[in-house]
């Protein structure tokens, strides 16, 4: 029986310069932040990143890891504007493919289904088309309308964070929403999952538990046990996002050398020191769930 347990360094070692990396979660919610921090510590560069973006995207931009960003939004929700993403865009530091949230769904679905595109009306009449001339309009053989052919968005690697997983790669998301994580996973050649809890194989035997498993273990390449691995993003129902930490992160962007200071304090130090500095797992578990 395959044992897929890995450490974060092994995950990052399988990500090469120029790869396309999809990141699960949504804004400041259930982002694989510990894996992102490990990526920040690595020499990897020139990534194409696909995400419903939050601080994951901001940090990767700040660290110069992003060549191209495929996105519909980047936001921290309670702080609408992500500061380092903003800076990267305003400085013209990254290429972008800016698309609708639902177009990203279709692109990931197409990749998972191994088709080149899915037709959609989304984008017609908007600058999504003018800013992305690679998005082609097609005729339908069944009507007289033009349709946007949303291209597949195949990923080399998907990074996601889940509540619970076993060593074989069975992953459970027990918060109210799994977002589009299953689509990221199916669109990717390799999927690396961090989990708050590592559990025995038998943990999913009840109907209710098995229903919260959203992809087959054959879609999971590696599993990293990282309690609190989504911090400072949330991982419902275990913990909310860390508004204090996010405020410090956002404030850093207003200082000269702010990113370097944040990086030195929270990233360079390694994950153990990171958790100590944010108050340890006890503090993380006390972070209240956000009320929307």
């Amino acid at each position: 029986m395959a044992n897929k347990l890995m450490n974060p360094q092994q995950v990052v070692a399988s990500i090469q310069d120029g790869m396309t990396v999809g990141i699960g979660g949504w804004g400041p919610r259930r982002k694989p932040m510990a894996l992102v921090r490990e990526l920040l510590r690595s020499p990897v560069k020139d990534l194409t990143v696909v995400a419903y973006g939050g601080a994951d995207v901001g940090m990767l931009c700040a660290a110069g890891k992003v060549k191209k960003l495929i996105f519909a939004f980047v936001t921290l929700d309670f702080i609408p504007l992500e500061p380092y993403f903003r800076k990267a865009r305003q400085e013209g530091a990254i290429e972008v493919m800016e698309i609708d949230e639902g177009q990203m769904v279709l692109g990931l679905k197409a990749a998972g289904m191994r088709v080149p595109f899915i037709p959609t009306r989304i984008g017609l009449g908007t600058d999504v088309l003018t800013r992305n001339p690679q998005l082609r309009l097609i005729d339908s053989p069944y009507d007289n309308k033009q349709w946007v052919a949303m291209p597949a968005l195949p990923l080399d690697v998907a990074l996601v964070h889940v509540n619970r997983a076993d060593a074989r790669g069975v992953c459970q998301i027990s918060g109210p929403d799994h977002y589009l994580d299953d689509l990221f996973v199916r669109a990717a050649k390799q999927t690396y999952v961090s989990c708050d809890e590592l559990v025995e194989d038998a943990a999913f035997a009840s109907e209710n538990d098995a229903r919260l498993v959203f992809w087959e273990r054959s879609e999971t390449t590696g599993v990293v046990h990282l309690s609190g691995g989504a911090h400072p993003s949330s991982c419902a129902p275990l913990y909310g996002f860390d508004t204090k930490h996010f405020k410090e992160y956002v404030a850093s962007a207003k200082e000269d050398g702010g990113w370097d200071a944040y990086f030195a304090k929270y990233v360079q130090c390694g994950e153990q020191d990171y958790q100590r500095q944010v108050g340890g797992m006890e503090a993380i578990k006390r972070l209240p769930l956000p009320v929307f």
């Binding site: 949504w26 996105f71 519909a72 939004f73 980047v74 936001t75 609408p80 504007l81 993403f85 903003r86 865009r89 305003q90 400085e91 013209g92 800016e98 698309i99 609708d100 949230e101 639902g102 177009q103 769904v105 009306r121 989304i122 984008g123 017609l124 009449g125 908007t126 600058d127 999504v128 003018t130 800013r131 309009l137 009507d143 007289n144 309308k145 033009q146 109210p176 929403d177 799994h178 977002y179 589009l180 299953d182 689509l183 009320v291 929307f292």
Partner: protein, 256 residues
Amino acid sequence: MSDIALVDRIICAAAQAWKDDGEVLATGIGLVPRLAASVCMKSVNTDLLMTDSEAWLVREPVPVGPRGDYQLQRETWMGFSRIFDNVWGGKRHAMVGPVQVDRFGQANISMVGGDYDRPKAMMLGVRGFPGNSINHANSFFIPNHSRKVFVDGEVDMVASVGYNPARLARGWTLEETTDIRFIYTNLCVLDFGGPDHQMRLVSLHPGVTVEQVQEATGFDIHVPANVGATPDPTPEQLALLAQLDPHNLRATVLGA
């Protein structure tokens, strides 16, 4: 002047947006639109669907702010993937807050500035605007009616489709691509019922003149012969609002 708070007037006016929609998902993005949808579901159109703004459809609107021991009245799982099923089916009417709107009703929340590659101010990205606008009905809430919002020419990044014939794809009509219902601002209520979908003044809030609205708008609006006043909320609506916003979060949204 009225002693009704302006924000309450706007919310209760905007609560009429879904009046004749029947059973659609009412999504209000931001406090004022959400309270408007909530008031509507409780009093105007009780067939509306609403979410808890997270992952569940609920039988009754969830009060905004800290909930104390309030128990969610779930009726259907409604995570993001399900939301797209709903959007693509068209049975939704969203009320959103764009940063720019032009005379075609084209709206923008993505970026501001003339150079897309180096925006003067990067904002959120287009989010779900392209898909929402071409799939279902939309209304807007604009807390700061001004020429910075209602821009001359086109918005800097057309995130949602408007009534712009120049951008129409082959085989489509403007009526198929675009369904913008109402715009609620701090000055007035507007729609696109003018000639050739021109933006039209529907009603003025107390103390606001037609000239003020036109002055604060970067393009000509259609002004019908008789423009009424935005009605006062009823006492019942105000009582509902107090229940739905128990912490009075709405008091500061217009920058009091």
